[in-house]
Symmetry: C2
Subunit: 168 residues, 2 copies
């Protein structure tokens, strides 16, 4: 086992999204069992000016797919941001996991010094590959997946950190 | 810039904790300005059976210091877990950042295949260095720092993702 740009990105984000997907499965069952309208959770947020659960998943997946594409020198695919149901949100995660899975280590490895330019909220950000991965992508993916978890947890879903880490 | 076990751990966790510390400074000012009892935020939690803000910081710092020590083949230092004020919590972060800063790349690099054995909640976990870093340490540090952020955000603190990422 060695450390590489591939090892530090693709399997990490695949696993994080797989774990989030399994948490969403529990949320679907929770809605069924407790007769909760799914939109209550999907539109749930932790503060009035924070993003809801759907948007948290959209951003986490965007950042992950953007990372794979950019480190490999491709244009990131665009998703429509029209998810409205748990099935939609899970489909977006599945699409992202499949996209991540389409990359071979050789496409990502060696991208440490690649120039990456992003426009976020009208602001241009420039990175090399390593700083993009560790200073932007990884914290963003975990920030939004943890917030998605926290929205569900705050709304009573019985999950724990083991679900988030994928070790139970 | 190259990728290495050091680059993927020490500067990443230092920066994450520095950003959290700056968020806590804003929380202190928020308490002063709005006449909020600091304990309300320090004991804040997002669900009755989730950890409060103090415990989130304790775990994030524990995982970060444990990572540096274990990858370098040292016994992790023990902290007392007796923090009760923002000053205490900030001191714990400062102590952790100083500890992380005491490691040289040569002490951490090459630890990809090091055998790491952890006991968490009475359960023994075995990893190699890379899987420990990417499958346990990094998600844990971000999980607990994001939850700390979310507790403060949920309680009205005016911060944004730029504070979490440290790019504002």
């Amino acid at each position: 086992m060695t450390i590489s740009m591939y090892r530090a990105s693709i399997p990490v984000f695949k696993r994080t999204l797989e774990n989030l997907d399994a948490i969403l499965d529990k949320a679907v069952k929770y809605c069924e069992t407790r007769k909760i309208e799914p939109a209550v959770l999907l539109q749930g947020r932790l503060a009035p000016d924070m993003f809801n659960l759907i948007r948290q998943v959209q951003i986490a997946t965007d950042v992950a797919k953007g990372c794979a594409a950019r480190l490999a020198g491709q244009e990131p695919p665009k998703f429509d941001d029209d998810e409205a149901t748990f099935a939609d949100v899970k489909a977006r995660i599945a699409k992202t996991i499949a996209f991540l899975g389409s990359f071979k280590p050789a496409q990502i490895d060696g991208s440490e010094d690649k120039d990456i330019t992003l426009t976020v909220g009208g602001q241009t950000m420039k990175f090399n590959g390593v700083d993009y991965l560790f200073g932007f992508v990884t914290p963003n993916v975990y920030f939004h997946t943890t917030t998605a978890y926290a929205i569900l947890r705050h709304n009573g879903l019985d999950v724990g950190k083991g679900d988030f880490l994928g070790n139970k």
